[in-house]
Symmetry: C2
Subunit: 194 residues, 2 copies
DNA sequence: GCGAATGAACGGAACGTACCGTTTTTCGGA
DNA sequence: TCCGAAAAACGGTACGTTCCGTTCATTCGC
């Protein structure tokens, strides 16, 4: 039969999932990564710890999930080369500048850096949502003779993200409005033709 | 009288201090930051936990101490502009490429990012040992008309360190031989006269 | 009735603090 | 000059608390 996967019983509760991730963000913002408490999340979200451990492979992965949920969907409306590059990374800037986003995103990234499983999960997201789009845009700009042919995608990623980690994670410095735009400007200047 | 502070009792044991920091590095390399155990350090170093809590204001600060001890003393022999910039940051590259340095340095930096006290301690080191020397070198290069006048020190720091954090902390990617030299090349290219 | 949910409980581990007895150093009085 | 008291640091043990990750009993919803 089509759709032969018989399903019985209730589905996963969306309410519970959302409450757990929201509680995770509160806990991350208040306590950071090392003092992050799963018991605290369960209490805040009025959820059972069993529900948490059933749906997330590790605590770190849950924290990455909670952080990624902060990112707004990327708006696609750039025509200028610098704008097209900027748009890819703009969600990070927006999330870091809104409310407790700075602390939440920082702690979430620290979790990804400290936990091997969470790190792989987060790098997979990075690959799909930032690295691949950037490579496409740069290839397009190469074809239009706007930038040189010999760029390397990892160099470009380092340039677009390095300063962001430096400020957000290591320095605890604010992310300025237009941060990603100026990084895109730097990138295009370094890669420009002739 | 001068030095009127009466002193009694034995001095701090250098053996114990060194053993504790070495054990901290082992623990960081094996367990990372969140699973880092003070009990484990005490057991490894055959030290009392009281000795640890007496001499370090926080566990994070101890981890930063342990990480900074990995850095070799900077050798000063550059004459070329790029070399002079490189030499300032080279200790980081060397430490990250030696033995378990990659994991130790990563976990140590994660500790600095996650713990507020440890972060301030680490940023003070950054200021004294990297930011100030870099500003001096750049000022010198400005006087020699090698770079433009309108550089900003924080932009320069982001450029020299951002890619390093990106690879070491977030991506867990190896640091290549010559990493800092190529970053210095990028920096001078961006800042070059005319 | 089956699966997901909550809430309580479990043993084990780590936390940070408080003692203990010992050792090392300094100081003041005989 | 010598000696004993005081002070501080040390390894080690123990304590009460918190958190972890898992399990069990029970309820809720399709």
């Amino acid at each position: 039969m089509a759709g032969s996967t018989r399903k019985q019983g209730p589905k996963r509760s969306e309410d519970s999932r959302a409450a757990i991730l929201a509680a995770t963000r509160e806990e991350l913002a208040e306590n950071g990564w090392r003092k992050f408490s799963v018991d605290g999340v369960a209490k805040r979200a009025r959820a059972s710890k069993q529900t948490i451990y059933r749906w997330w492979p590790s605590v770190g992965a849950m924290c990455v999930d909670a952080g990624l949920e902060l990112l707004p969907a990327p708006g696609r409306l750039g025509r200028d080369p610098a704008e097209r590059v900027t748009d890819i990374f703009l969600p990070l800037e927006i999330a870091a500048r809104a409310g407790t986003g700075h602390a939440v995103l920082r702690a979430s990234l620290i979790a990804a850096a400290d936990d091997a499983d969470a790190g792989e999960y987060w790098r997979a997201w990075l690959q799909d949502n930032l690295r691949t789009p950037l490579r496409n845009v740069l290839a397009e700009l190469t074809a239009k003779r706007i930038i040189r042919r010999d760029w390397e995608i990892d160099i470009a990623m380092q340039l677009m993200l390095g300063a962001f980690w430096h400020r957000l994670v290591l320095m605890r410095a604010p992310i300025s409005d237009g941060h990603m735009a100026s990084q895109a400007g730097l990138l295009l200047k370094l890669f420009e033709e002739t």
